[in-house]
Symmetry: C2
Subunit: 443 residues, 2 copies
């Protein structure tokens, strides 16, 4: 028998009340036109009395409002639809990326009310960036006429790895000089608002979870979000909850090996998916092949990003002669007889095949139903990448006898990182995680 | 907004009672000498009245018993220690492996009361194997004088992938002819007992979780179990719970790429960790290098297993000249100047380096604190593999600025699959998963 005992905690009535309130709010949030109290009782399994008490509290806190009144089909009382009160509260989301900083104001539905862009993190010091963000937060809230007390807080999505306990970014590989920056404390001091910090990929997965459907298909209960930005990361959603791991750093997939013949990574190994699929590698390879001009400054994420756009534009003009290459053609074997456009496209296809192998590996490990792709780089490559990703996931995953694994583009075209950052705040406020039921040490 | 609503369920008092009962039982199970009612109240956060009611029920069901009576240090009542009643109930575990079938009888602590071996699955039909298992279950229970009503059920650990809903193995790669065999139904029909089926690697992880300490260090709350048998699989434990994924097939890691220069896998790719580390590959490579004799029948898992033992024995006799090779030495570059023993050892070291890369990749993805290695092949290679695994996990994981990732050998030397199979039954009976709090559709 083991020596030490760290028992699980029990639960009690006040905890249940909080949890059930979150369950009700969640059901209303996910409904199309709102739900009546009777429907809520049926959906959640709670008693009419509990529903009545909880909805009264939610109305008082302006989290929900009463909408349309439905007359009964037979005898009985009319039913009133309860809806989320979208502008009862707001959340701020901040996405820190080497190429751009985005700030959004979200309503309770997670919809963007207003947004602004700020300095890219790679061009400024953390202190200057925090000042810039603070004034933009202030401007967004003021310009929308939002009462300060209705702002629940600020979420920050930052490149990993992160120290969520300290609210700090650690050593983001693409932000030299940003060593252990306590962004949460700095931004709290600058704004007075509660601040929460998480990884960009995790926040993006949460955005998908928060705004996507929660259906019986289960796709949106178990998925991996592949975040494609300046770097590559994953956000994991299992049983409808974000899986953080022991230090909220789950989802580090950069050094997952996908191609024996791939480019050399910063870690010294060959074939890491991060190196194989990041815009910078593709830009370097395309420049070496004479398809685009070489970057003037290899350390400027914005120039790399512009050249990446050029490469994607070139590939999008490829004609029908650029049929899909075999999945494991080497970049060194690109067909020189075809046009520049076709070679650009083949280069992207090769990168897609590498990413597909990585996606299949992660899908096998976690037995998810879907891998969702998004992030700043995604929209430029989606049309080339998605068919290859879909094909690989459907045909090579281990559990395919039991269920399909589908590849999907993110439902959020633009700003998934910033929206996810705001969702961190909403999640914090309205979580229905069963683990919140357990009695804390200080309860 | 999405169209469909599948709300989370609320919770209520009867559910809480069940959950709190499981919490109490769990706390007692993990204590060294038992716990008093006062200690239980402090540990679980539950009221004295709840503790009193729940422990009375547990005593009545013979799940716990009263032990030592402690006199108070000052005034007040004496305290009685409550302990698990280990022989109040039992569970059967069956491990189906290509090389051997193992059946164990476990008490409530998860300790082995008796065990037996049966036909290897690779040498017989499913029907014959089920008959053999059923008579051994009967023999074990009878020989130990266990009342039938005290046997909670049978757990089966089988090679993945599995269909846990149907209780079937699907197409285990090393058991040709075993296509979609409904082992759960067959064994239930043969014994009359409830039967649960899961993957060998998942069951092994559960054995580690059930029998290991639950301390504040967190190592045993977040870990991956690498199961090394005829094949390679992983069991995932996150927040102290087994992570099954959407179809209980999480942990399929066989095709994780770890070495550009590795052997060709059955999937057609090069460098999959399953192929690189399975005994059969090592035996083939060692035979090609003239270190051991070649297998007479390449499809006999037991012969491969015996030759693997020979290879490990050879390596264990290597002298001090076989200093550890560089992590990425190719099997084709093994130093021919050294002894056969040293070359055998270098071959295992190369395999360990490959496994280490795979372990680091999985640790990064899930942000675990530990990777635990075990299974039928482990004890033969542990002394060569463990230092290499420990070194790689400590020095290359992404979250190492926040926490160490340790490599550990399983705390269960022998029969982890069968013990894990029995733990599936115990887990089913005594789960404290918070998700069990939610109201089911039929409650």
């Amino acid at each position: 028998m083991p020596k030490e005992t760290a028992a699980r905690r029990g639960t009690n009535l006040p905890r249940i009340a909080d949890f059930n309130q979150a369950v009700i709010l969640d059901a209303i949030r996910h409904s199309v036109d709102g739900l009546s109290r009777v429907e809520l009782a049926r959906l959640t399994g709670l008693s009419a009395q509990s529903i009545s008490n909880i909805t009264r509290r939610l109305l008082g806190r302006e989290l929900i409002s009463e909408g349309q009144r439905l007359e009964p089909s037979g005898r009985g009382k009319p039913r009133t639809l309860l809806q989320l009160h979208p502008t009862g509260h707001f959340a701020i989301g901040v996405h820190i990326d080497p190429t751009i900083t985005t700030v959004v104001l979200l309503d309770l539905l997670g919809d963007v009310v207003a947004s602004a862009e700020s300095l890219p993190a790679s061009t400024t010091s953390p202190e200057n960036l925090v000042d810039a963000i603070a004034s933009q937060v202030n401007e967004l809230v003021t310009s929308q006429g939002v009462t300060a007390s209705r702002v629940l807080g600020i979420g920050i999505a930052a490149p990993g790895p992160v120290d969520t306990k300290a609210g700090a970014v650690l050593h983001p590989p693409l932000l030299p000089g940003w060593e252990r920056v306590e962004l949460r404390r700095l931004l709290h001091e600058a704004t007075g608002l509660p601040v929460v910090l998480h990884k960009d990929a995790a926040a993006s997965a949460l955005a998908e979870l928060w705004r996507g459907p929660r259906g019986s298909a289960g796709v949106h209960e178990d998925f991996v979000f592949f975040y494609l930005g300046t770097g590559l990361g994953a956000g994991l959603v299992i049983n409808g909850e974000l899986l953080g791991g022991s230090s909220d750093n789950a989802g580090e997939i950069g050094h997952l090996m996908v191609d024996a013949d791939g480019p050399v990574c910063s870690c010294g190994m060959r074939g890491c998916v991060g190196a194989a699929c990041m815009p910078r590698t593709l830009v370097d390879e395309a420049a070496s092949a004479g398809l685009i001009t070489a970057p003037r400054n290899d350390n400027d994420p914005r120039e790399i990003d512009e050249l990446f756009t050029q490469l994607c534009d070139l590939a999008s003009r490829a004609g029908p002669e650029s049929a899909r290459t075999a999945a494991h053609t080497s970049v060194r074997n690109l067909d020189p007889a075809v046009s520049r456009e076709a070679r650009a496209r083949q280069m992207l296809e090769l990168s897609a095949a590498r990413l597909a192998r990585g996606a299949a590996t992660v899908a096998n490990l976690l037995d998810v139903r879907a891998v969702i792709f998004g992030g700043p780089a995604w929209s430029r490559i989606a049309n080339v990448f998605l068919p290859i990703l879909q094909d690989t996931l459907l045909t090579t995953t281990e559990a395919r006898q039991i269920h399909d694994v589908v590849a999907l583009g993110s439902s959020i075209d633009d700003g998934v990182g910033a929206i996810g950052a705001g969702c961190l705040v909403l999640e914090h406020a309205f979580s229905t995680r069963p683990s919140t039921l357990l009695l804390g040490a200080n309860s």
